[in-house]
């Protein structure tokens, strides 16, 4: 993975020096070569890769070519922002997706189901950046309830932090909410057809108990799996959302790194995102055990 990212970012035309010179190009070719040497990007790729891997093995992610700041320190500063955004997005997705999915499954084929299906269709087809702009126009400009963009750290003011995170989390979460609505609905419908549900109903368990304890719990296993996989999409989405809402997270850091061809920054950011994705899917695997006591890890 590290090698793939290392090579891919170098395949992109241009390098940190061409980006530094920019539109004006007022710098002589000799100076360009000097700068390439200074940035160490004139050396053979295997030398650069070897050096990077040696650093990585020692937990050193290198320094940004453009600002000279250590990438590791910048990432640890930004990681909480992205994780907060991703988890709030996930919360939105579950808070909407599960109840709507349950209602749709219970009222299969009726108006509520059609509405829910409409929501799914709309949610899956709306691009998050467009949704983000609409949410800004509605909640910040029209209603004036929430700040349109910007970031306040929770240490500074928790309420201001949450106010700034609501719209980004909504933009990110609504799309995932649509996806989870669909999976909750179809998985519940499948479970409703099982014998143990008929048995539960036959022995007189209240419908509420049937749905919540017997059906939903069993239906949640595929939901959790899909959400684990969707978390990757969520992390990918943070790149755009952080840019629109000016959140100082890893996604924006990566994007800036890509624009400036700041190789260590891009490599570090992708590594951090991959790590988060792996951890979440580990958590998903552990969740199976909680949801289904038959699943045990030894």
């Amino acid at each position: 993975m590290v090698l793939a990212v290392f090579l891919l970012i170098r395949l992109v035309p241009g390098d940190v020096v061409t980006q530094l010179i920019g539109l004006e190009g007022q710098i002589s070719p000799r100076r360009v070569e000097e700068l390439r040497r200074l940035f160490g990007i004139d050396r053979p790729l295997h030398v650069q890769f070897g050096e990077y891997m040696t650093g990585l093995a020692r937990g050193n992610l290198g320094r940004s070519l453009r600002t000279g700041q250590p990438v590791g320190r910048e990432l640890s500063r930004r990681f909480p922002v992205t994780i907060q955004l991703a988890f709030m997005g996930l919360l939105v997705a579950l808070a909407i997706g599960v109840p709507v999915g349950v209602v749709a499954a219970l009222h299969r084929g009726r108006a509520a189901d059609v509405l829910a299906t409409g929501f799914v269709l709309l949610g899956l087809s709306v691009p998050s950046f467009w949704l983000a702009i609409l949410l800004i126009l509605l909640f910040a400009l029209r209603l004036g309830w929430l700040p349109p963009t910007g970031y306040v750290s929770p240490a500074e003011s928790l309420s201001a932090n949450l106010a700034h995170m609501v719209l980004p989390a909504l933009s990110l979460g609504l799309i995932l909410a649509a996806a989870s609505t669909r999976i909750v609905r179809s998985s519940l419908l499948e479970v409703f057809g099982r014998h143990y549900i008929r048995t539960a109903r036959a022995k007189g368990v209240a419908e509420r108990g049937v749905v919540l304890h017997h059906a939903l719990r069993n239906a949640l296993i595929p939901v959790v799996t899909v959400i684990g996989l969707q978390f990757g999409t969520l992390l990918g989405g943070t790149v755009i959302i952080e840019q629109i809402f000016a959140l100082p997270g890893i996604g924006r850091y990566a994007l800036e790194g890509i624009n400036l061809r700041d190789y260590p920054v891009v490599q570090g950011a992708v590594l951090a995102i991959a790590l988060a994705f792996t951890l979440v899917n580990l958590a998903v695997d552990l969740c199976y055990g909680v949801l289904d006591p038959r699943i045990r890890y030894s």
């Binding site: 241009g14 920019g22 190009g25 070719p29 059609v114 409409g118 400009l141 000016a246 800036e256």
Partner: protein, 524 residues
């Protein structure tokens, strides 16, 4: 049923979007009695600075923040003339080789130390010193020695007369910031910049904000003798998304935004709480013609193109009517002191273009490739219009687009026939007219070569008298308009927006926010 719901939902979303475009009613802008002190101006910036050491950065974003912390020896007026800055006055010897600058006596750095001539010598030498790795070192290639005969006098000895020296010293804080020697020597330029400017650096959190506060010691005063600046504090907040930035000023989350996108200008103008300032910037956008490649080595072909294009259509269609103004002269935009005195290509004249092409031996026109970059919209969107416009005269264009990082080296290597390009950020007429057109220069992407033109722009570098320089550069531009090394299309505009309780800010052509030192606010 599903279809109806979908249509309803889309309709709702659309109504929401359109409804949001209608400006809320607000109080009419209060008439401010006059400048008042105090207030925090929150500025929505497009990007972070790229480093805080002015001598090491080429980024406009760095300039726009650092120019409030640092001063330069000379300043540039809105119409592009040089006015006193840290230097109260200056003289040039008769041979043009010795420039003597007299410094102000009441200037202090933010650390409390008084500015002396030695700081000026140190700063300029810091840029010149190869060990500093400043991209601006070449600006001072003509400087032989720099000395400080007394604490308030700086003498530049040049290797040859070089009139653009003032432009190099004053056009931006990146190229000529006077820094405090002890700070640079402690290697603190990137972490805690110390200058003599109107605002003092307080702190910077990347991708969030940079804070500056009023320096109580600043030397400049307003017309009534009151000390500048008026504002207590400036907060630069980094909001990369253009629509979010425009919304932030409409909701009052910030008081000022830069780079209002063309598509948002109308909505902001309609908002009673916001005023949009802006207009042409120091730049030009043209069809670059490779003058060395047939059939473009024939001047008549180039003239035909200049008559065939419809600049108004390009501005109105490709730039939403607000993204640029038609180029009526040569590369120096209108409003600049050195703008050319005559309009040559005053209308679109397809018949004349056809006639010129016939005379050039192409009665049936010809085919050519227009190479463009897909990276910058304003350089890409005119392509199809030009294709249609030139087709009317018989020049059939094929369009080929490439990413900037592939495109620019290709054009710089002059491996193209036609392209849409331009440069920006110029201050001195020399910046516009020398390297871009003088015979054999590396930056002469159009391969233009004309002995008469070369002589004029070389004279312009030597002559320091402003009126004489203006005459020479006028002749040079008229000569270029006749020979058409490139077909001028438009000058890009930039817009800033301010809340109506903010006064005194003026848009400057060189994309500088220097007038923030004269900006004041009334409480809302």
């Amino acid at each position: 049923m599903r279809k109806i719901l979908l249509a309803l939902a889309l309709g709702l979303a659309l109504a929401l979007a359109l409804g949001a475009g209608v400006a809320p009613l607000g109080p009419a802008a209060a008439q401010a009695p006059g400048p008042r002190y105090g207030g925090t101006l929150r500025i929505g910036m497009q990007t972070d600075p790229v480093g805080l050491d002015p001598h090491l950065s080429t980024a406009t974003a760095s300039k726009n923040m650092l120019e409030h912390i640092y001063d330069t020896l000379v300043f540039v007026s809105p119409e592009g003339r040089f006015i006193p800055g840290l230097a109260e006055s200056w003289t040039t010897s008769a041979d043009g080789l010795t420039w003597t600058f007299r410094l102000r006596r009441n200037v202090k750095f933010h650390n409390g130390r008084a500015l002396v001539a030695d700081d000026v010598v140190y700063s300029i030498n810091r840029i010149r010193n190869p060990a500093t790795r400043s991209p601006w070192a070449g600006n001072y290639a003509e400087v032989d020695t720099l000395t400080a005969p007394d604490p308030y006098t700086v003498v530049f000895r040049l290797k040859k007369p070089f009139a653009p020296l003032l432009a190099k010293l004053g056009s931006s804080v990146l190229q000529g910031a006077i820094v405090a020697r002890e700070v640079a020597e402690r290697d603190e330029m990137q972490s805690s910049p110390v200058g003599t400017g109107p605002f003092r650096f307080v702190g910077y959190t990347p991708q969030q904000r940079m804070t500056l506060v009023r320096s109580g010691d600043y030397w400049e005063t307003d017309a009534t003798g009151r000390r500048l600046p008026y504002l207590d504090r400036i907060e630069f907040i980094f909001l990369p998304d253009a629509v979010a930035r425009a919304t932030a000023i409409r909701t009052g989350t910030v008081d000022f935004i830069e780079y209002v996108p063309s598509s948002e200008v109308r909505a902001l103008r309609a908002d009673p709480n916001v005023s949009v300032v802006g207009g042409p910037s120091a730049n030009f956008r043209s069809i670059y013609i490779n003058n060395a490649v047939a059939p473009f080595n024939n001047v008549r072909v180039r003239q035909a193109m200049a008559w065939a294009v419809n600049r108004k259509e390009i501005v109105d269609t490709a730039l939403f009517g607000v993204g640029g103004i038609e180029a009526t002269g040569f590369v120096i935009p209108p409003g600049n002191y050195y703008h050319v005195s005559k309009v040559v290509y005053d209308k679109t004249d397809v018949d004349r273009a056809k006639r010129l092409l016939s005379e050039a031996g192409h009665p049936n026109g010809f085919e050519a490739e227009l190479y463009v970059t897909s990276t910058y919209d304003f350089l890409r969107t005119p392509a199809e219009l030009l294709q249609a416009q030139l087709a009317r005269a018989g020049i059939r264009l094929r369009i080929r687009a490439a990413d900037w990082s592939v495109y620019l080296p290709t054009v710089a290597a002059k491996q193209y026939a036609l392209t849409i390009l331009g440069t920006s950020g110029q201050v001195d007429p020399d910046d516009y007219l020398y390297s871009n057109f003088v015979t054999g220069d590396r930056r002469n992407f159009v391969n233009f070569s004309d002995a008469q033109y070369d002589k004029l722009v070389n004279d312009g570098q030597v002559i320091t008298n402003e009126a004489q320089r203006r005459r020479i550069y006028d002749q040079a531009q008229l000569r270029a308009l006749e020979l058409v090394p490139m077909v001028l299309l438009f000058h890009s505009t930039t817009f800033e927006a301010v809340r109506r309780n903010v006064f005194g800010f003026e848009h400057q052509m060189n994309q500088s926010y220097l007038t923030l030192r004269r900006t004041w606010m009334v409480p809302r």
